[in-house]
Symmetry: none
Amino acid sequence: MPEPGNPSHSRRSTRSHQAILQAALALCRENGYASVTIEGIAARAGVGKQTIYRWWPSKAAVVFDAFADVAPGFQAPHTGDLTADFRTFLFKVVRFLNDPDFGPCIAALIGEAQRDPDVRSMFVERFAESRLPRRGSIMARLESAQESGELPTSLDLSVLLEIVFGALYHRLLLGSGPLDKRYARLVVDTVLSGVGNASE
Amino acid sequence: MPEPGNPSHSRRSTRSHQAILQAALALCRENGYASVTIEGIAARAGVGKQTIYRWWPSKAAVVFDAFADVAPGFQAPHTGDLTADFRTFLFKVVRFLNDPDFGPCIAALIGEAQRDPDVRSMFVERFAESRLPRRGSIMARLESAQESGELPTSLDLSVLLEIVFGALYHRLLLGSGPLDKRYARLVVDTVLSGVGNASE
Amino acid sequence: MPEPGNPSHSRRSTRSHQAILQAALALCRENGYASVTIEGIAARAGVGKQTIYRWWPSKAAVVFDAFADVAPGFQAPHTGDLTADFRTFLFKVVRFLNDPDFGPCIAALIGEAQRDPDVRSMFVERFAESRLPRRGSIMARLESAQESGELPTSLDLSVLLEIVFGALYHRLLLGSGPLDKRYARLVVDTVLSGVGNASE
Amino acid sequence: MPEPGNPSHSRRSTRSHQAILQAALALCRENGYASVTIEGIAARAGVGKQTIYRWWPSKAAVVFDAFADVAPGFQAPHTGDLTADFRTFLFKVVRFLNDPDFGPCIAALIGEAQRDPDVRSMFVERFAESRLPRRGSIMARLESAQESGELPTSLDLSVLLEIVFGALYHRLLLGSGPLDKRYARLVVDTVLSGVGNASE
DNA sequence: AGTTAAGCGAGACGGTACGTCTCGTCTTACC
DNA sequence: GGTAAGACGAGACGTACCGTCTCGCTTAACT
C-alpha cells in the first residue's frame, strides 16, 4: 500500500499518512481495536475520512500498517545449543505477546482476519511468513541446525514454526492458560524432543 | 442460558427458541458469520428482536448455541498404538474443521472472541475445554497412555492438546497452509516424537 | 404525512414529531434554509436521523411541514367593494411575505421545488391551491363577485390569482423591486381594471 | 466575469473558457441543472477544477454564462395594435420557456437564486432587467404605446412587465397549469383590459 | 372460567459508524 | 506562470444495526 518510491503515489501527503498511522495506533492502544473507527482515526489525525479510504481498503489495513511500523523483530541467538536458542527466541516472542501494546492488537487482527480475507492474507504475508524478517532469524537458526545435523533435512521448518506459534496463539486467542516462559519452554521441548517415550 | 427444567424459564416459547437457533445457523452458513445480525435472525425466525435479547447476551452467544446444538463430538479409538489412535482422532477433527458448515463458523467465533471476552470464555469453557465431551475422548486415551507408560505421568495433557489444536487453528485461522491429513500426521508425530535427533 | 387519526401512524412519537418540526423551523430561521441539514435537525431535536427519514421523504418536506404548522391563513373582507377587499387581502399577504420568518422560507421552498418535483407538487397542492384555506377566503370573495356581477362569470379565478401571486413572487424571488403596499395596490388595480385606455 | 479585452485576463485560455461553457451547457441539458457539478464540468471540459474556480464564483455563474451565450432575445412587432403585439411577443416567450433546453434551466437558475444572492442579482441584472436587450424590445413597444396614448404615461412599465412575467414564472416554477398560448393571451388581456366590469 | 401477568411479534426510538459524495482549497509537475 | 490533475480537510448524505422501549395480542397458570 504505502510503497515509498512508487511514482503513482508521489502526490501522497506524508504528513497525513503519518498522522493517520499514529492516530490508529494510539486509539488501538487506548480503547482496544474493537472501538477503533475510521471516523475516530480521521478525527484524531485531523484528516478527512476520504483520505483514509483513498489509501487503505479497511480499518484493519490501517491498524496493521500502523502496527507493522512499530512491531519489533527478534534475533535468535546461535550458541550451538538449538534447544536453548529456540527457548531464548520464544521467550522474547512471549514477552512481546504479553505486552499490552502489542498482544491484544495482534489477537484483534487475527480476529479481524476471520471477517475479512484481505486481512488474513495481509497477516500471513506480512507478519507470519517464515521468509519475512519477523520469523527470518529463527528460520536461519533452524536451517543452520539442519546443516549441522541437529535437525533432519527432511523437516519442513515452516510447519515446525506453525506448531510452535500455533501453541502460543492458542493461549493468546483463547486465554486457555498463562502465556509465560514456562509454557514457552514446554512448547519448545515438546516440539524438539517429543513427549512420547515408548517409541523412542 | 437455555436451561431446560429451570422453572423461571417455563414460559419460554420452544417454537421461537428453535426458530432462532435455526435461523442463526442458516444465516451463518449462507453468508458467513460476519453478515449475521440480530435483526436478520429475528426477521428470518419470524421473531421480535426483544425475544432474542431476552435470552441471549450477544449475537455470538446465539450462534454458539445454534452451533453447539449440531457440532458432533469425536471418539478416539484405543487400539493400543497411541500414535495411530491420536492420528485417527485428529483426522476426524481435520475433516470437521474443513467442513464448510463448521470450519468457517468456528474460525469466526474465535475471531469474535477477540472482541468480546464473554465469547472467549464461552468458547473455552464450552468447546475447547479438555474436560468437556468434545476433547474428553482423546483426553481419556491420553490418560490411559500415561497409565500404561506410553506417556510420562508428569506431562500436562492439557498443554499437549493446546499444542496440537493450536497447530490446527494456526492453519484454520490464518490459512498458512492446507489443513489436511498430512499436516495432522506431522503434528501428531512431532508432538509425540519430537523433531530433534542430536540432543536425544 | 402526519395525518392524525391514521391508525398506521399510531406508533409515531408525538414528542419526536414536534421536536423535529420545531428544530427545522428554528434552524431555517436562524441561518436560512440552505444551511438546514437533516443531521442538524436531528441533532437539534435530540432525535435519530432515521426517525426523520422514516416519516419524511426529504429535507424540504420537513421544513414545509414545520412551516405549514405555523403559517397563518388570511381572511378576505367583504365590504361590497371588490377592489378595496382585494387590496386589503393582498396587503396582508405582502406583510406576510416580508416577515423575515416567512418570506425567505417560502422563497427557499419555491427554489427547492426546482430541484425536487415532489416539493413542487407539495407546494402547489398544499400551499398555492385556490381550493385550500390559504387562498380559499379570497376565492370565496371572488366567487361572490361573480355572483353579484362585479366579475364576469366566464373568468377563470385561478388564473386571476396566478397573475396576482405571480407578480408578488416575481419580487419575492428576484428582488426586482420592493414588495410593499404600493406594489400590491398596483397589481390589484392592474388586474381588475387593466392598464390600457384606448381599447376600453 | 469573462470580460473580453480586460487586460488582467489576458493570460486566460480561450480554449478552456469555451470548453467550460459548452460542458456546463451540455451537462445542464442532459441531466438537469441539479446534477451539474463543478467537478463534472471540469472533467467534461478536460480542464482543472481550479481553472473554473479562478474565473467564476459559483456553479450558477458558469451555467448562467453558458446559458446567456445561447439564449435568444425576442423582437416585439409594432403593428399599431398593442394588444396583438404584446400577445405575439408573449407567445415567443412562452415557446422559449417551454423549450426543454431553456425552460428548466431558467427555472433552476431562479431556484438557485434563492440560495445564492449573487445569482439573484446576476439573474435580475443580466436577464430580467427591462433595460436589457432581452426585455428591451417589448419595452420599446410599450414606450411607444405611451407616446401614442395607448397606455397612460403615468404607468410604470417595469411593474407591468413584472406582472406579466410573474404570471408566466408562476406556471414555470410551480407547474400550476399549462404554460401555453391560451394562458399568455389571458395574461396579456387581463393586464391591458382588466377583468372587472362593474367599477369601470 | 376468568383473571392476570409473562412472553411474544412488531417496530419506533436515540444513537453510532459506515462508505460515498461533493465542496472549495491546496499542491505538484508539466509546458 | 497558467494549467491539468488530483490529493486534501470538511462535512452531509442516506443506510445498516445496535440495544432499548413501548405497544397490543396471545397464552399459560393460578385463582
